[in-house]
Amino acid sequence: MSAFLDAMQYDFMQHALIASMLAALLCAIVGTFIVIMRMVFLSGGVSHSAFAGLGAAHYFSINPLFGALLAAVLVSLVLARLIVHHRQPPDALIGLMWAAGMSIGVIFVYLTPGYTPDLMPYLFGNILTISQSQLVWMALFTLIVLLVTGFLFQPLVAVSFDDEFSSLRGLPVGVLISVLMILSSITIVLLIQTVGIILVMALMTIPPLIGLTLSNALRGVMLWAFASGLLVMVGGLLLAFQLDLPGGPVIVMSGIVLLGGVKLMKRITSST
C-alpha cells in the first residue's frame, strides 16, 4: 500500500492511474465485442494501420491522436463493408493493411524535418508520459464510446450474435457493424497511448478472455473484464514503477499471468 501511496505523489502517476481506468473500461466493453465476434486479428490490422495516420500527423504537424483516429476509422469502415458483404474479410488483406500501415507511418516519421525518429513510444506506448490534454481527449472519447454502446447495446448484441437473423428483423446490420468498427478503432487509438501499437491487441483481448472464463452472461463478462482490466493495468503499472521497467510490456505480461491463473483455477474447480 505504501508503494502505491508513494507512487501516487507524482502527477504522472495520477494521470497514468486515470488513463488505466479509462482503458479498462474501454477494453471491457469494446474488447468483449471484438473477442466474441472473433475480430482480434482484424483489430490488429486496424491498430497497425493507425500508425500510418500517426506518422502523417507528425509530418503535417497536427495532433497525432487525430491522425491515428482518421486512419483507423477509415480502415475500419472499409473492413466493415467487407464484413457485411463477405462475412469474414480475407486475412491476407488484413495482413497487407497491417504492413502497409506500418510502412507508411515509418516513412512519414522519417521524412518529418528536424524530427529524430524514435518509434519506441508508439510501438510499446508510455503510459507515464500521458499529458493532461491527452487525458481529457481520452475521457471525452471514452464517454462517447460508453454512450453509443449504452444506447445501442441490444441491437449491437443481436448483430454480433447473428447478423442474418438481425437483418430479417429489420435491423440496419451494415450501420451497426460500422458503428462497432468505429468504436473499436477509437478504442484502439486511445489504447495505443497507454501500451503502444504492438501490445494494444493484448490489452483488448486479455480482460474479455478473463471475463469469458468467469461468466456466461454478457454483462457479467464485461464486469469481470473491467475488474480484471483495472487490476492488470494498475497492478502492472505499479510493478513496472517498482522494478523500473517499461509499463506496457509489464502490464501485458501481468495480464497473461492473471489469465493463465484464472483458467487454471477454473479447470481445478470444475473438475472437482
Binding site: L152, D162, E164, F165, L168, N216, L218
Partner: protein
Amino acid sequence: MADQRKLLVSLRDIEYTYDSGKVLDGVNLDIYQDDYLAIIGPNGGGKTTLLKVILGLLEPDRGTVTWHDSKTRRHIGYVPQFASFEREFPLTVRDVVMIGRMHGHTLLQRFDQKDVLHTTSILEKLGLVDIADKHIGSLSGGQVQRVLIARALVSDPAILFLDEPISSIDQDSRFALTGMLKELNARIPIIVVTHDITAFAADVAHIACVNNRLFYHGDGELDNGCMEEAYGCPVELVAHGMPHRVLKQHRN
C-alpha cells in the same frame, strides 16, 4: 388448374453462383398463403442457398424474387441451421429468444413488460422455461433447436422458414416439432428445408426437389423420376407408418 390461393412469393429464373460453381440454375418457385412446403435435395444441392435467396439474405446473380405482400415480408420467422452460430457467445437462452422481439424501427427502445411476458409464454410453450437462464453453450442439440424456433416465434411471424430443423434432435423431439409445425400451419405458411423428408412427409402440402435446378414442385406426391433426376441416382422412396400415403408406390 389455376391456383386461387393468395400468392406470397414468386421466384423466377433464379441463378446463384459461388466461387466453387453454380449452385442454383433457372429456379422458379411460388409460395402461397397456406402453404406447407418442403424443400428437399442432396447436400450441396443448393437448398440453404435457395432459402437465403427467398429471404433476401443472398442476392441472386440472375432472376427475381418478388414478395407480393409487404406485411408478410416484414414479419418473417427464420430458424437457421443448428450449427450456424457461435455457441461460446455469452448469452442465456432467454437473451437469445428475446432477440426475436427486436425491430428495426424500435432500435433505441428497451424491451418492455410485453416483450418479457410474450417471451416467457413462448419459452413455456416450447418447454424451455427451466433452462431459460442457462448459457446457450451448455445446451443439447434438441434444446438449441427449440431455442432457435422460440426466437423465430416470439416475433409473431406471418411466415416461417426452417433450415434443417430436425437434423440434430432425437425422435421424440421430432414428433413434438412436426406436430407443432402442423398446428402453426393452420395460421401461417411454413417452408422447411430438409434432407430427410420422412419426418415431414405426412404433413407437407408441396415438395420441391432442389439439386442446382428445381426438379419438381408438386402437390405433395413425389415420384422416383423426380428424385432420380435430382439426386442423380436411383432413390428409394420409403414412407413408414404414415396416416396418408403421400409418396407414390414404388415400382418393383
